[in-house]
């Protein structure tokens, strides 16, 4: 659905993404992890067509993303950036309805009401429909922004840290929505910081470090203590969950080590 081919991005001289090749396939949740500054968001933005490439190609359904007309691209992939401010006090319903804009005047605009209502319900913000977006809490805003992306009903979905502002329940909710979308034939690329969430919910995990792709594969293969400890420059433990067997990733929290920190 979405493919990076030897993709590089240079911003004001710094090579932020360095020759990454990665493919988001239909039916999977692909999670992008890596330490701060690894180039996760930059890679996602490049795949969304937001940044000029220094090398390689970003493909959407086989065609370079910048060659799509914006409206056509918007019917194929939806993007949730990290920050989603809204400059005027639009109410929540209007914000989510904006997700239907690419489908205006098409046969699919009959689905507008259902798509919006479903997205509002799935993200648990239906009770906020008449509130002004700027008056919502950070977590509520994040879920409304996600609802807008879901209402767009595109096969491919790119989510940049959708769980950052959310509590545990809503983090799980977001990733289960991602799963549902993948099961129904879509593809979801998610940038996550929480390695536990990544290991538990990803079909495949891609690990970025210093702009390079260092590993990609199923969580069980990629989420190893050695690899993650090296990439994050902090000892990390990985062990199977006693009940489910899903890999659990935890940073080593040595009391003595903590006390050494300034």
């Amino acid at each position: 659905m979405i493919t990076a081919e030897e993709l590089s991005v240079r911003l004001s001289g710094a090579l932020l993404v360095d020759g990454v090749s990665l493919e988001l396939r239909a039916g999977e949740v692909l999670v992008l992890v890596g330490p701060n500054g690894a180039g996760k968001s930059t890679l996602l933005a490049a795949l969304a067509g937001d940044l000029p490439l220094a090398g390689g190609r970003a493909l959407l359904d086989g065609v370079p993303v910048e060659r799509w007309r914006p409206r056509e691209a918007a019917r194929r992939r939806a993007v949730l950036p990290q920050h989603n401010p809204v400059s005027f006090p639009f109410d929540v319903r209007s914000v989510v309805e904006m997700g239907r804009a690419p489908w205006r005047d098409t046969d699919d605009d009959d689905d507008d009401e259902i798509a919006v209502a479903t997205a509002l319900r799935d993200t648990g913000v239906a009770h906020l429909v008449d509130r002004a977006y700027p008056t919502l809490s950070g977590g509520e805003q994040a879920r409304v922004a996600l609802a807008r992306v879901l209402a767009q009903r595109t096969p491919a979905v790119l989510l940049d840290e959708p769980t950052a502002a959310l509590d545990v329940r809503h983090q799980e909710l977001v990733l289960s929505l991602a799963h549902r979308h993948a099961r129904s034939g879509g593809g979801v690329l998610v940038v996550l910081h929480d390695l536990g969430l990544a290991a538990a919910h990803a079909d495949r995990v891609a690990v970025l470090d210093g702009g390079k792709l260092v590993a990609v594969g199923p969580p069980a293969e990629v989420c190893t203590a050695d690899l993650l400890s090296a990439v994050y420059r902090h000892p990390v433990e990985v062990f199977p969950h006693p009940r489910t067997g899903v890999p659990v990733v935890l940073p080593v929290r040595d009391r003595e080590e903590e006390e050494c920190l300034p």
Binding site: P70, R71, P89, R93, V95, M98, L120, A132
Partner: protein, 351 residues
Amino acid sequence: MTAAAMVGAPVRARGRTKVVALFAVLVTALVVVSVVSAGAGQYGLPVSDVVRAVFGQPLADPFAEGALWAVRFPRVVMSLLVGAVLGVCGALMQGTFGNPLAEPGVVGVSSGAAVGACLSIVFGWTFLGAFTTPGAAFAAGLITTFAVYALSRSSGRTGTVSMILTGVAVNAVAGAFVALLMFIGDQAAREQIVFWQLGSVAGARWAYVWVAAPLVVITAIVALVVARRLDLLALGDRQARHLGVDVERLRLVVICAVAVGVSAAVSYAGIISFVGLVVPHLVRMVVGPGHRVLVPASLLGGAVLLAAADLLARTVVTYADLPIGMVTALIGGPFFFWLLRRNRTKAGGWA
């Protein structure tokens, strides 16, 4: 129907009622202000006479009829046109930049037009006859706006902040040019520049109206066509692009429309501050930020506001025609401040 849709239904209906009420009020105000304004002045005429004249019936007093058609009506129409275009362009600018502080002046239209007008005044240009000063102002307004647009583009895109900052820089340079021209000019020219900058629709003639009207209509049509897409820009450029908006093209179209409309208005009426900034805010306070309502309502609201301001400017002090720009700012400023204070808490601010 889903539960969510049902919860929203009564509120939506209430919203629609508000919209209908707003348009009804605006249209009524427009008619009333226009008629009263046409009748008011040193030579007062009853409303019934104005209405008769509008419907083409002869008046008992031929002098009154002549004054209405030659002086009052073109002035009222001009104030409506200028107000409408300033209001609609304010909504366009705030919408395209996703910034509640934006107004047409931000991209240099007004200051550029001022330079053009000052040039024609100081050097006594007459190549377009009575249209020379408005013509020079119009051309300079357009040129300045496109200069701001071109200067703020980098790698094929214009960032909102870079555009506004470029506008600030260009406005400063234009201000310096105006100062220089005032310095060069003789006393008569200086006086003329000062009054041009204060803004006025005095002395409007049908000839000016016929020149300005088509430009205003073009701007209004473009504004109504793009209105819906402007909503998406409130999410930010990136998000709007992801939702299928060709942000660059939309912005270019809007800036062209604003440049044409505001240059036309400013070139004739001079700098009338405040209308473009305030009218969209007033409308948003009543019916919310959706541009499909905001744009046409700002058009009507601007027209009403400026026609009312002109009425005040002509009648508040007997035998004096106050500068209309001064009236809009003097009365509108404190009023707007009061409204902001009152609404800030419940509207959740303007972010």
